[in-house]
């Protein structure tokens, strides 16, 4: 009798077969994002309550935990979080804005009116069972409801309680009362003081101002550090059993990314101004116009500068600015930039890339030069290399249907982060979560709805 063959392959799991074993082959196979769903999850023992409102940073923080496998319950006020409205031109997709849609991943979305005593009690019961709470109210709001860390630690000493707010929950400005928005987070972080086009010829134009990064970088920095702080506290809890409070101010968060900003001021009492296409520490390290767009070009050290000017066939330019100090000189940078641009506008970005790669890979002369043609959102998104790498993915979400999204950035051999679903509508998981954690069934839930508690 023939024993039937048991397959371990499910539909659409056509993985490439392992060939010769180099490091690249091994790591491609071992960290292949297409196999993520076959592996364990790092945080699937953790329950997170994200009770933030109007804050994409907090949502990103809980996204990271959710991507690593934590059960995340998003608690919104009845009617939904205002962050669901943060969407370009007010665009709504099945009732939810795109900012929220992207950071609703892997979470259960419920509603609860924390302004009512019943809502507060329900939250307290959830917090008693949770490992992590994330909130983004102004300091004192949760406290007024009896839900700040000093109250919750009494009922759950293992709880890790994270707050996120522009001015933080302590320090002399914490009580200023102003709300938290990305633009102010970036403004206070220091990044805008150096991002922007400096004035030319002493005639300021509308664009000669401190400029924000295109995305919500201030908020994302805050959320990234919130997840980091929570995980650090989680390790300490593993050792000691004790929870604690984690407080993150997004401007502090992005300040930690602002180079030697503070150190430069401390050591030589200098501040950098707007850098534009120039740079304070490495030049040329710049953006130039090309025939068909823009490219990044770098040739900073003497040997790399030689390489760049060889490719440009411009030994005179090399001789004019022979040392790194000549090239870092603030007055010289615009001159060098203009000279490189005079050359670069004659070629497409890809032609420059080909020239550079030919020079570097075939060792046609000394130095390593780096270049990259700029890709916009369309070009980046349509680049198959990123899809192969698992940077982007699309899928059929049970509620939102056909959507595309950016994936977690890490590849891991044992417990990779992943996206399981995109988002849920307002209150979409009320029934499941109230049943599972609070013993509240359908009928009781209806009553709570009528009373505007959920």
């Amino acid at each position: 009798m023939e024993i039937p063959k048991i397959t371990t392959v499910l539909p659409f799991e056509d993985f490439p077969v392992e060939t010769d074993r180099t490091w690249v082959d091994w790591v491609h196979d071992a960290g292949d994002p297409r196999k993520n769903h076959l592996k364990a999850e790092a945080l699937d023992d953790i329950l997170v309550l994200d009770v933030s409102e109007g804050n994409i940073g907090a949502l990103f923080g809980s996204s990271i935990l959710g991507e690593f496998g934590a059960d995340v319950i998003r608690i919104e006020p009845p009617g939904g979080d205002i962050a669901r409205k943060f969407s370009p031109f007010g665009y709504m997709y099945k009732g939810t804005g795109l900012g929220y849609l992207m950071e609703g991943r892997n979470k259960f979305h419920i509603t609860l009116n924390l302004k009512t005593p019943e809502g507060q009690e329900a939250f307290r019961r959830l917090a008693a069972q949770a490992d992590v709470v994330i909130e983004a109210f102004k300091p004192g709001v949760m406290d007024e409801w009896g839900l700040s860390y000093r109250f919750l630690r009494e009922i759950n000493p293992r709880l890790i309680y994270a707050s996120l707010y522009t001015y933080g929950h302590f320090g002399p400005e914490a009580g200023c009362g102003k709300p938290d928005y990305d633009i102010c987070d970036q403004a206070r972080s220091g990044v805008m003081a150096v991002t922007g086009e400096p004035e030319e010829n002493g005639e300021p134009q509308a664009w000669n101002v401190p400029t924000k990064e295109g995305n919500w970088m201030g908020w994302y920095a805050g959320g990234g550090w919130t997840a980091f702080g929570i995980l650090t506290a989680l390790h300490y809890r593993h050792i000691t059993g004790e929870g604690q409070m984690v407080d993150v101010a997004p401007p502090d968060a992005e300040l930690r990314f602002c180079d030697y900003h503070i150190q430069y001021y401390h050591t030589v009492q200098q501040v950098r101004g707007l850098v534009g296409a120039y740079d304070s520490a490495v030049f040329p390290y710049t953006i130039v116009k090309t025939k068909d767009g823009f490219s990044f070009l770098a040739g900073f050290s003497d040997v790399n500068w030689e390489g760049l000017t060889n490719i440009m066939k411009d030994p005179e330019l090399r001789a004019k600015f022979p040392t790194i100090f000549d090239r870092l000189n603030k007055a010289n940078q615009p001159i060098i930039h203009k000279e490189i641009e005079k050359w670069s506008v004659n070629y497409t970005g890809d032609e420059i890339l080909d020239m550079v790669q030919d020079y570097v890979l075939n060792r046609r002369g000394p130095g390593t030069v780096a270049t990259a043609p700029m890709t916009d959102i369309k070009e980046t998104f349509e680049d198959e290399v990123w899809w192969d790498r698992g940077v982007f993915d699309k899928g059929t979400d049970p509620y939102y249907g056909d959507v595309a999204f950016q994936c977690p950035p890490w590849k891991m051999t044992l417990t990779p982060a992943r996206v399981k679903w995109m988002c849920r509508p307002v209150g979409g998981d009320n029934e499941y979560i109230f049943m599972k954690y609070l013993g509240i069934g359908k009928e009781k839930l209806k009553e709570l709805e009528k009373a505007n508690i959920v």
Partner: protein
């Protein structure tokens, strides 16, 4: 009353003067670093601020390339200012891992560590016999993270040099930063490096949690360009759904209205108000309560429509022209909308708020004296982050590390130095050696 009461409590819980009276969350975690520039070294640095013990391995002599990268070529007390922000609390070991005896020392150190961090080209560590596959044989619980520009494998992974700005250029961040019709703007800081390192450190912590549960280690990789793509919020989904190719829009936020930067009499101010009470407060502050009643601005969804947003931002722009930054900021506080001046490093350095939060952190270094740097923004009430000492000259802790962790004797260490397996700083280029007035002892443990 209640808010003051709460803030009094938080200020006490997070009192910066008590940082050294509290334990460290990552005490007992040891990290071996083989990294240069920023993306690599910042990853263990963020963990070292919470007590992880970091052994930084550099090549003898010139060491980390970042020792040459410093603002306007300024070397301070013979140190590169650019090297400081991602190297604190570390032990500095200069070891030539390219030769077999050096690789063996690295392997022995890795056996004593919990985490290995590297940012070399894919496969380099493997060739030297110290890659993940080799290290996990001698230390199965090891968490190994490799960070670089284009990843360990894939269409761009081979043969392309990458820098922070390359990551910005290929990720869509550059294309969406700046003003319409103008040159796309590099973010003025190495955001791809530092944020990449931060996310790398976060993954190490997640892996550590899994190891706490199961004892198992793993390999992690991160590409800084791919990381920036993760952070570009709604850009990709909007393109997918509506073929909208997100442009540069200066300081205007297309998804929150109003949210922009406005020129006052004496400089720019950032301002935002999405919620209805905040927006009414703003209109009140402008002396134009009727604007809030205008059907074109009645709620956030309506305000966000392009023509309405443009009209509203124009009204605010005209109003801001006649005000000072301080006046607008004061009105923000009074009427509950978001406002802020654009802070410079000097503002932050002098700010009592940033000092009280220990984000701007002052300490005394044995070699460089008084230091003021940026410490971790994650504030943990029971286990706060801290700086103990600054970046050190190349190879300063060789003897200490080899004796403490590997039990080597003086004559063995001397022989390794003679064979140039280990080494110290070179005089030139600058950025490697101790300050001119160094007494030959400060900073050396033994």
């Amino acid at each position: 009353m209640s808010r003051e009461d709460y803030l009094a409590w938080t200020n006490q819980e997070f009192d910066a003067s008590r940082i050294f009276a509290k334990p460290e969350a990552l005490r007992g975690i040891r990290i071996l670093e083989l990294c240069t520039l920023i993306l690599g070294p910042a990853t263990p640095d963020y963990l070292g601020e919470f007590g992880a013990e970091v052994i930084k391995v550099e090549l003898p002599g010139a060491g980390d390339t970042m020792r040459s990268v410093t603002p306007y070529g300024t070397f301070w007390k013979n140190a590169s200012i650019g090297q400081l922000p991602q190297n604190h609390n570390k032990y500095h070991m200069a070891l030539d891992v390219r030769v077999s005896m050096g690789a063996e020392i690295f392997r022995r150190l890795a056996k004593r560590c919990d985490v290995v961090v590297e940012n070399l080209r894919a496969g380099t560590m493997d060739r030297w016999g110290i890659g993940y596959e080799q290290l996990k044989e001698i230390n199965p619980g090891i968490i190994y993270i490799a960070l670089n520009g284009f990843g360990q494998w894939g269409g761009y992974a081979e043969g392309r040099a990458s820098y922070d700005a390359v990551a910005q250029t290929v990720s869509g961040l550059l294309a969406t930063t700046g003003f319409p019709g103008r040159l796309p703007l590099k973010t003025g800081v190495f955001i791809g490096d530092y944020f990449g390192a931060q996310m790398g450190a976060t993954a190490v912590l997640a892996a550590l949690h899994y190891r706490d549960r199961t004892g198992q280690g793993q390999f992690i990789e991160l590409s800084q360009g791919e990381n920036l793509m993760r952070l570009l919020d709604w850009s990709w989904i909007y393109y997918y759904l509506e073929k909208y190719n997100r442009p540069r829009t200066g300081n205007r936020d297309l998804a929150i209205c109003p949210s922009d930067v406005f020129m006052c009499k004496d400089g720019p101010v950032a301002l935002a108000a999405a919620r209805e009470d905040e927006f009414k407060g703003l209109c009140q502050a402008m002396g134009k309560p009727e604007v809030a009643e205008n059907p074109r601005f009645k709620d956030l969804e309506t305000r966000l429509k392009d023509e309405n947003a443009v009209a509203l931002l124009e009204i605010i722009k005209e109003w801001a022209k006649g005000k000072t930054v301080a006046e607008v900021d004061q009105l923000g506080e009074q009427h509950g909308f978001a406002s802020s001046p654009i802070l410079t490093a000097k503002d932050q350095y002098e700010s009592p708020h940033f000092r009280a939060r220990a984000s701007v952190f002052e300490y005394e270094d044995p070699i460089y004296g008084k230091m003021v740097e940026v410490c971790s923004p994650a504030k943990l009430s029971k286990t706060p982050a801290r700086h103990k000492w600054a970046n050190k000259p190349v190879g300063m802790d060789n003897e200490f590390i080899l004796r403490k962790f590997l039990g080597l004797r003086t004559y063995q260490i001397q022989a390794l130095a003679e064979k140039k397996i280990i080494g110290k700083w070179v005089e030139n280029p600058p950025g490697r050696k101790p300050p001119e007035d160094w007494d030959g002892k400060a900073g050396i443990i033994f």
